[in-house]
Symmetry: C2
DNA sequence: TGTGGTTGCACAATCGTTTGTGCAATATTA
DNA sequence: TAATATTGCACAAACGATTGTGCAACCACA
């Protein structure tokens, strides 16, 4: 297929492979290649559509200009958005991205990481799916790695993520400020660091306001069904909450369904606030108040950090960063005061 | 970093590189390597976490087990969804995917394709962004390629996409069946094949029902703003339409905003039907009737086709396929009969 | 003319695999 | 016991690039 190599160009122009290589890789003057020679070789390369083999280059140079992105899945809007900014920013630095998906299964992680290592990626950006940092720590000895979105408390692996605690604190305080006391938090998988941090923020906000007795954390999953079931449940209480803090958009949708089935109206009958942004949220009735994670910033920072690490300009320490999310105010929270 | 190679294992076990290679690549019995030898080598490889270099392998074998995915962007839900199924299905066949984004700019296509070629991908799945098939046709001589979502009428490059004509026909007939005559179609970029096909379906449905005189195609862009502006405009007409056919979700959202600003209600005052599905559409009030593209099927078929082509089992001809979308009925269309 | 510096390029090793071929040592057969 | 098969492995070339080094040819200068 793509037959053109340095050798074929060398043969056709009568120069040696090394000369052709130096010309086409831009190090012509460093090796004092004559101007005419340079022109001839470049012209020939252009004519025959020479495409350098990054395989051979990578093999020889021990760097592939590739960054591996390990992610649970691209179906989720949050992750695909993250992947999007990672790819875009990587391109800025001349890197190409290889994406591997774990399908949110920890047992796939090792295989996915092996894939990336086999392809000799220069660095890895990863969203872990499981409880154990083991695989990542082993990899970290071989290649720069940075975690995003989630991290391991038991590990010193550097990470970049949303300040989930701060975001949740902000959301809960917003509800409290609007007079809400009885607030139910519907969470995702309790072992995930973002979930735990959000719950912690929720509880701290309640505590700060002297409302700890009302603490009520429900659910276990980032699914519509979980949001639906848990909302159904709390709506059946006599002392039902006046507000719900949904820790994801899927949970939000489940809650909306349950609320609507109960012939209740969001805001009028029950307030709701969600984690994560989406353009559709502005077009719901009422529009949904939510906490938007700084996805772009996370992706950009992750790439910049990993690129610095690849170039050896930066110690792997002190690299963990939490970025504050922002609240986007809609009409889903009623002011009870 | 990742120092372990066939050579190091060979040295430590006392066997030759070739023997180690045959053992670890699974061709041990073909070359009559002794059972003990196999065990010793495998054990050593396990202990030192040997990770084969796919660079070297690719260089030698002239195949990389990699498929290139060229796509406008991952921000768009449709494309990220497509990318998701492409990755998942490729993994099934043992392929890894490299994604390059053109940012919907034709002038980036050549560079993106060069990237993929340089990495010696075994095949390419592409969503073109521009008018010209030239770059793709040149590439097609070197490596199997299949277009998805969009295609070139002027080219015989194989493609897989939604039957946009059929989907649009279905949507428009649905509106007509419910008594709508005055239907405005708000379109995206008119040069894109899917848009043209949808408009053709819209017009044919009108013609079949003898309503050609009401044909009204507006807009030029898949943006919220376009949907908003065009809807504002048509709502100002005296003989305003009773229904809108939005050719994308973004256009839909713009339309919703315009309608709501005009103090009108979807369904009650004006009906609407959209192309593309999204889980949020079920939770809008009212829920939106839409045409869902068979994204999964497109992604899966694309990979299967390209894999077959890579293995040389299939001619590149007759490979173009159009898949029928389905309608998901919501409450956004009023029955005028 | 001899010395020394510059210019312009080629040679060859190397990166980590795969694989055709060759060659001992052992086993089988007559 | 001699001839032949079989077993078990090693040698070496090749994939396509990079790069340290060497070596002519040319120039300038004394």
């Amino acid at each position: 297929m793509s037959n053109e190599t340095l050798l074929t160009i060398a043969q056709r122009t009568g120069y040696s492979i090394s000369t052709v290589s130096r010309v086409l890789s831009g190090s012509a003057k460093k090796y004092r290649i004559g101007d005419k020679t340079v022109e001839i070789i470049k012209e020939e390369a252009r004519k025959c559509h020479y495409t350098p083999s990054l395989l051979a280059k990578g093999l020889r140079n021990k760097e592939t200009n590739t960054i591996g992105l390990l992610i649970p899945s691209l179906e989720n809007y949050f992750f695909s958005n993250l992947a999007s900014t990672v790819i875009t920013e990587a391109t800025v630095f001349g890197y190409t991205v290889i994406i591997v998906c774990t399908q949110e299964k920890e047992q796939n992680e090792a295989e996915c990481l092996r894939q990336l290592m086999s392809r000799r990626v220069d660095g890895i950006v990863a969203v872990p799916s499981g409880h154990s940092p083991k695989e990542f720590e082993m990899i970290a000895e071989q290649v720069p790695i940075i975690l995003i979105d989630r991290y391991f408390e038991s590990s010193s692996l550097p990470y970049i993520c949303t300040d989930n605690y701060g975001g949740s604190l902000m959301a809960t305080e917003y509800l409290i400020k609007h007079g809400h006391k009885r607030i139910t938090c519907i969470q995702g998988p309790p072992f995930q660091t973002p979930v735990r941090e959000r719950v912690r923020g929720y509880n701290d906000a309640l505590k700060n306001a002297g409302l700890s007795e009302y603490s009520n954390v429900a659910g276990e999953d980032f699914t519509i069904q979980n949001g639906y079931i848990e909302t159904k449940l709390v709506l059946s209480y006599n002392d039902r909450p006046t507000a719900i803090l949904a820790l994801s958009n899927t949970i939000l949708l489940g809650a909306i369904k349950a609320i609507s089935e109960s012939q209740m109206k969001i805001s009028d009958d029950i307030s709701i606030i969600s984690f994560d942004n989406n353009q559709f949220l502005d077009y719901m009735t009422p529009s949904i108040t939510r906490i938007e994670q700084p996805i772009q910033e996370i992706g950009i920072l992750a790439i910049r950090t990993i690129v610095k690490r690849i170039h050896g300009n930066s110690a792997p320490e002190h690299n963990s960063i939490q970025l504050m999310p922002r609240i986007i105010v809609g009409d889903s929270v009623k002011n009870l005061k």
